[in-house]
Amino acid sequence: MTGLQRHGWAVFAAMSVLFFVGVFVTYWAEARGNPMLAGVDQTASATQSGGNFEGKEVRFGIASSALFAVVTTDASCGAVNSMHDSYTPLGGMVPLANMMLGEVIFGGVGAGLYGILIFVILSVFIAGLMVGRTPEYMGKRIEAFDVQMATLVILVFPLVVLVLTAISVVSPDFGTSQLNNQGPHGLSEILYAYTSGAANNGSAFAGISANTLWYNSTIGMAMLLGRFFIIIPVLAIAGNLARKKAVPPSLGTFPVTTPLFTLLLVSIIVIVGALTFFPVLSLGPIVEHLLMNAGQAF
């Protein structure tokens, strides 16, 4: 439609990089097994597939389960073929992080693309100034209004996920009382529930009895805001860009078709996502992983 097929490939490449990194980390974490089960044979052999097999089906095995977990959270699918709750901490963090980035890696059917386009606009704006011009995307100038709307989009996620999770974890009556696990793993469970809701993924980490007034209503709210509220600013950007006059590309135009752009896009997605969720992840899966290595489970 834009006639810029090479830009499409650049964006696709960025998605693929993030996808393969996710698959690799999950597979590595799961195949490595649980260090706390020392003495138990967890190595792959003719008789067993090895690794952390808790909560996985024999017919899928480690590799397919890891692949499925990453795909279902990248593509806004929500179906699961294994229990994410039973993954190793890092293995379970990947699906969580995929959703936290707004399911921009490939994205779901229909509304999947705009998530990454928002990050493209942010990348173009942040780095675009560095070439000494008002940033342009597809020949359209990215100006205050577009930046405002794009910022609003990336704001919704932390607002919904962090605030609701924060309220839940300090409320013993209706929040933590529904948990089956304590400590960092319990935090991951609540966090996953809201992230999955806001990202409209629908997959469950489980380990939490979410069928209560509090969780039903707040996760419902997360779904409403996370999915539908975002559409408003995205449409506003689309309308605003459509109205603008297109500037013909020249040598001075910010290049969006190069491998460098792919790298930039990946960095912006990871940094913006990481900067937002790193604190909570470090108290959830990351510390859990370190504790597991030290011999403590939750």
């Binding site: 000494g132 205050a144 577009d146 910022t151 924060a166 500037v247 910010f254 460098l260 604190p279 108290l283």
Partner: protein
């Protein structure tokens, strides 16, 4: 003014002194609110101060750590002050220039000519629009105006910094005068065109002081992004406390605010307005006044540059390059006649003919007086009717002029001009030159080839512009053939020949309709509509008042080539902003690795694995991150004021370079910086 501006170094003692005071004045929350990022830091510093006082009055055993808390609080205040200092430094340079300008605005008196024709002496501040004043040699012109009568040489150094006086005369494009400049000779009657307080000098003072500074479009957009990021980090930090409580690792206010201040983009937030002010300042150092910051930014975005041929691309005058004799005539006799005909010709073209005759044929310049001694010499000056000039010498009639004029002259003598003459002149025209035919006693001798001389280095400049994706269009009144030839020689991308002001306007509108931004220079009243239509219109200071008002920049040196520098300054401004934004955001990664493990190390000792920098203790880690955060603002002030180094490269290459320096550099530098600070403060025993 310009001379003083150029010599002000970044670290001028007086400016630093004033900036130090200003950084405290700027703590006023009402002023800070305009900068959301730094406002959050100020509020944070205020909260820690209150908490610090509470801790002194009623210390909480096991929690209160006065030494650490005091240092955090102090460094938070320093962060705010450093940002204010950056802004004050940028403004300081402008203020110093404004002071110099104010001196030029000393109280003057004016000789107002009343309606009845009487002259009365009034204070310059009493002058109103429409008043007519008489200014004689040695007096200051009391206000901006237009000369209605007379010619004078005027010293405009107060405005332009150029010490050579300029000629101002009534009528035409040189009639505008500026208040505060001095008449050196003769006397003029000036009609005042602006009221007190609205004169050019007043506007200049306001501009260089930054009093009228409004945020530019890109700055507004960037501010929104920074405010958005600040809100995100605010959410991340505010919600971290419940997570910490859940994890049995409740944090103190000091630690949380430290984390927040380190994460929000303080580097770019603190330097953003300084970058904007410094951009305007750089223009002023190039003796260009921008009426708005928007224009400076637009200059960076320009796609098409309209450049006048004469004075910009070529030297103002044509020069004789060759003598081409007709068959049967010698080079020497043609050169001799050409020289004779030009002896009294004081135009640059005429002089270049004499020079060429001397250089090529060794013909010494003959003294006019020597020739006149015989009494039979008569010089014929150029007139619009004959369109020829020359001389009568001992019965010889030597004439030079355009082909048509000489053909008529030759025909009047009864001879027919040859087809060969036509051929030569056409060849010269096609090559972009101007032919001048020389005739002796109604007989054509040959042709002088006058050539437009392209300024040195222009073709490289245009090449650079092309690499930056900017198209150059040469505007000329010449015919298309001449224009095409010069365009080829100068290396411009396109040309507009036989251009009228209307054509120029149409070209600008056409380019703009295609979504392009156009920049041009102009000085005449007939340029005014095009100057107003162009996205960047640079008016020459020697131009008319109308042109100056229509454009959005004024070049005090009246040097049309400067348009190229203006574009570069605009680009540099945007690049500096982008580079520091990228740097600022990339910095956060290292700060997370410093602070997060430090916060929860007591509860989860295993988090030591995240302490990749190996920082000594939780306190030293947090303190180091806060100190680094504050120091980086100070360290980057010179970069913000000077701007990122600009090289004319394609966007792809620029991006690669800058991403490497400011993106990757922004990731790595803080890891090293925080580690060094940690080593220093633990050695000093501060934490």
């Amino acid at each position: 003014m310009a001379d003083t501006a150029k010599t002000i170094s970044i670290w001028d003692g007086k400016i630093i002194q004033r900036a130090l005071v200003d950084s405290f004045v700027k703590l006023n929350p009402l002023k800070m609110m305009k900068n959301p990022v730094m406002f959050v830091v100020e509020v944070g510093a205020l909260l820690t101060t209150l908490q610090l006082i509470r801790g002194v009055i009623a210390p909480i055993p096991g929690v209160t750590n006065f030494g650490f808390e005091l240092q955090i609080t102090l460094w938070l205040w320093f962060t705010v002050l450093f940002a204010n200092f950056a802004e004050a430094m940028a403004e300081g340079r402008g203020k110093a220039q404004a002071d110099t300008l104010r001196k030029a605005k000393t109280e003057t008196t004016a000789n107002r000519i009343s309606a009845s024709g009487k002259t009365e002496t009034v204070s310059a501040t009493k002058l109103r629009k429409g008043d007519v004043v008489l200014v004689v040699a040695g007096e200051f012109i009391p206000g901006d105006g237009e000369i209605v009568e007379g010619v004078a040489s005027v010293d405009e150094s107060a405005i332009t910094g150029e010490s050579a006086p300029v000629i101002r005369e009534s009528g035409g494009d040189r009639s505008a005068v500026t208040g505060g400049t001095k008449v050196l000779s003769d006397q003029i009657k000036v009609k005042i065109t602006s009221n007190t307080g609205e004169t050019f000098i007043d506007r200049m003072i306001a501009l260089v002081e930054g009093a009228e500074r409004q945020k530019t479009p890109n700055e507004i957009a960037l501010n929104i992004l920074l405010a958005g990021l600040t809100i995100i980090f605010l959410l991340a930090v505010v919600t971290l406390q419940p997570f910490a409580i859940y994890s049995n690792a409740t944090q103190t206010l000091f630690v949380l605010i430290s984390l927040l201040v380190c994460l929000i983009p303080t580097t770019i937030g603190g330097l953003l307005s300084a970058i904007g002010i410094a951009g305007m300042d750089r223009l002023i150092q190039h003796n260009v006044l921008a009426m708005s910051g928007r224009a400076v930014e637009a200059a960076g975005d320009v796609n098409t540059l309209l450049l006048d041929k004469t004075g910009t691309i070529t030297l103002g005058n044509r020069q004789a390059a060759e003598f081409i004799p007709l068959k049967g005539d010698s080079n020497e006799s043609l050169a001799d006649a050409a020289q004779l005909s030009s002896l009294a010709d004081e135009t640059p073209e005429g002089r270049s003919i004499v020079v060429l005759a001397k250089e090529k044929y060794g013909l010494r310049g003959r003294e006019i007086a020597e020739l006149s001694a015989g009494g039979a010499t008569e010089f014929i000056p150029f007139t619009a009717q004959t369109r020829m000039s020359g001389l009568n010498l001992d019965g010889r009639e030597i004439r030079k002029g355009a082909v048509d004029a000489i053909e008529k002259y030759v025909a009047a003598g009864g001879t027919q001009s040859s087809a060969e003459l036509r051929e030569i002149t056409e060849r010269i025209s096609n090559a972009g030159g101007t032919p001048l035919v020389v005739a002796d006693n109604h007989k054509p001798l040959g042709v002088i080839y006058l050539k437009d001389i392209v300024k040195g280095g222009m073709s490289e400049r245009f090449n650079q512009l092309r690499q930056m994706g900017i198209k150059t269009v040469m505007i000329t009144g010449d015919n298309p053939l001449t224009a095409a030839s010069i365009a080829r020689e100068a290396g411009v991308d396109d040309f507009l020949a036989e251009a009228t002001p209307e054509d120029k306007m149409a070209l600008i509108k056409k380019e703009q309709a295609a979504g392009k931004l156009v920049a041009m220079t102009g000085d005449g009243t007939n340029d005014a509509p095009a100057l107003a239509q162009a996205d960047v219109g640079v008016a020459m200071n020697t131009g008319t008042q109308a042109a100056k008002e229509a454009g959005n920049m004024v070049d005090l040196d009246s040097n049309p080539t400067k348009l190229i520098e203006v574009v570069e300054i605009g680009k540099q401004l945007l690049m500096t902003r982008g580079a520091l934004t990228t740097f600022s955001i990339a910095n956060d990664v290292a700060k997370y690795f410093a602070i997060i493990p430090a916060m929860f190390l007591l509860t989860f000792p295993q988090l030591q694995a995240l302490n990749v920098m190996g920082l000594k203790s939780p306190e030293s880690a947090i303190l180091s991150a806060v100190i680094f955060n504050a120091f980086v603002i100070i360290c980057l002030i010179p970069l913000a004021l000077r701007g990122v180094r600009y090289r004319p490269l394609s966007a792809a290459t620029l991006l690669q370079r800058n991403l490497l320096i400011y993106g990757l550099g922004g990731l790595i530098v803080p890891f090293i910086g925080i580690k060094i600070i940690d080593v220093i403060i633990t050695t000093l025993g501060l934490a």
